[in-house]
Structure formats: structure tokens, C-alpha cells
Symmetry: C2
Subunit: 148 residues, 2 copies
Amino acid sequence: MPDATQPTSDTAALIDALAQAAFVTMGALTRIAADNDLSLTQLRALAILRDRRLRMTDLVEYLGLEKSTLTGLISRAEARGLVHRAPHPVDRRATEVFLSTHGHTLAAALEAELAASLAPVMEKLDPAEQHTLAHLLAKAVATASTRT
Amino acid sequence: MPDATQPTSDTAALIDALAQAAFVTMGALTRIAADNDLSLTQLRALAILRDRRLRMTDLVEYLGLEKSTLTGLISRAEARGLVHRAPHPVDRRATEVFLSTHGHTLAAALEAELAASLAPVMEKLDPAEQHTLAHLLAKAVATASTRT
DNA sequence: CCTGATAAGTTTGTGATACGAACCAATTTA
DNA sequence: TAAATTGGTTCGTATCACAAACTTATCAGG
């Protein structure tokens, strides 16, 4: 609100489009999660941990949750054999979390389900457009820190 | 995932990019929701209803939830004055849901917060790229039926 | 070295989510 | 018009998510 109109109206349109896309994706993900006896949040955690090994605090940042919430979430996931906890090599206060073999397997299956679910959406774009879209999304999201 | 499924392998990359973008957006949305004393799901419902008047069943489809879950969700939102319920004009079994004035106001505020939160992400693309991305996302998501 | 001040995680308690199963009422099918 | 089917709600149970209080560690400053 301090600086107005700075974001070209294109930015507003982009935010809206991105939100719409995210909402559609969330709908699909919510269904997929439920089908696999997971909550959307748990699915998100698995996806995020798929190519990362994070400290609890960092995962909290990715998910947008409170620390206390994550404790229970990870405890349940660990009890189900989806993730492991390990003490941080340097900071003895910290705990690192990462996927188990089982977790990786499940994550891969979930991705396949998502791909199947979003196929009808993707088909609306020709190969060239798909390529461009993937490129732009990747560029925008690369190490994106949204913070507050 | 080197091998291609049915479509081009670009599709896999696109699914991944879209998922990444959705995860980043969800992180921001989760924080925004919590800051406004809403759950992510409730925020999603508000956003979806912003430009639509839907029957419970249709909203269930958008959100990817079970009907019984939505009943409670909408009841609480209604109790807070965010949405209204009204009998469907034709089908007497059905109930339509739509935002109240208060709900619209809140939804607008939430969008502003999202825009602020995603600004750093958007800034990684130049205006032309932003325009292209918005266009492609809009095209892909237009009346998207993800279904299972 | 100590002594706060901070940071990382966990525990606890409470309300909100989300599912499935059972149920009622209205609509559709046969 | 009887038999499905559909649209929503209610109920019971497990998970989710927050805030507040607490335990260890790490980090400053003197």
C-alpha cells in the first residue's frame, strides 16, 4: 500500500492467473492427498522434501505453518515411515528431516497422479506454449523467498 | 524421469514447474490465511466464490473435499458473516453459496496481501515475460476440469 | 568464562478440519 | 409409482493448527 500503481496492471493479472492456477492445482492435490490418506499439508511436506533435506524451522518456512504444528505433522509422518528425523550435524538444537525410501516412493506415485489429474489442463496448450510456460514458471519460482 | 509418458517430456517438466509454483503460492496463502484467522481451505473457498455463486456440490468439486466437510466449513463461514446460503431456485434439494459484502471485502484484502507476498517472485520476470506467463496460465486454467 | 538474550523443538490444551457412515428429502429413472 | 440417484446434513473420530509455556543450545557482551 505504500507505493501505489507501481505494479503494472499486468502484475495484477499475473497474480490473479497464478492464484487461479494454484487453486486448480490445490483442488487436484487435495483429492490426491485424501485418496492416499494424507492431508494436503502432509502431501506438501512430502513434495518439498523430495529434493531437499531441511531443518524443521526451514520446513516451517516453506509450509507457512507454526513450529508446534510441524512437530505433530512430522511425528505422524515419521510414525508412518514416510520421513526420518536426524540431529543436525553442527547445531545440536536443530533437527533435520528427510524422506525415507517409502516416502520417496509415495512422492513419486503422487506426482504421477498429479500429472494424470492435470493432463486435461495441460492439453489446452500446444507443446511450444507448454515449454514456454514451464520455463517462465521455473524462472519465477527459482529459489523464491516469499516471506512476509 | 527421462522417459516420456504419453505426451512430450515437456509435459512432465511443466507439471513439475506448476506444482512448484503452486507450493510456493500455498506457502504464502497459508500464512495469509493464518494472519486473518482463516484456514487455507476457507481462504480458498472465499477466493473461488469471489466471482461465482455455486451449489455446495460444485464447490466441493472445486475444493476437492467431501460434502460432509464442506457443510461444516460453510456453516462456520456463514456464522462469521462471510458467506450466505440460499435455496436453489429450481432444484429444491440444492443450496447455493455466495459471498456476503463482508466476504467480498475480506477477499479483496486477501488478494492484496497475496500480491504483496508474491511481488518478489514476480519481479524476477520482466514485463513481457509477466504478460506471457499470465496469458498462458489463464489459457490453461480457463474452465479447467481436473476431475479424477 | 559467565550471564542474559535468542533460537530450535517439543509438549499441552483447545477449536477447527476432514473423513466415512448413516440419514432425510427431493429428483430422476424405469 | 416403486426404485435408484442426487444434494445436504448430522454424528463420531482422528488429524490439523494455533498459542503459550518449557527445555536445550547457541550467541552476545562484559
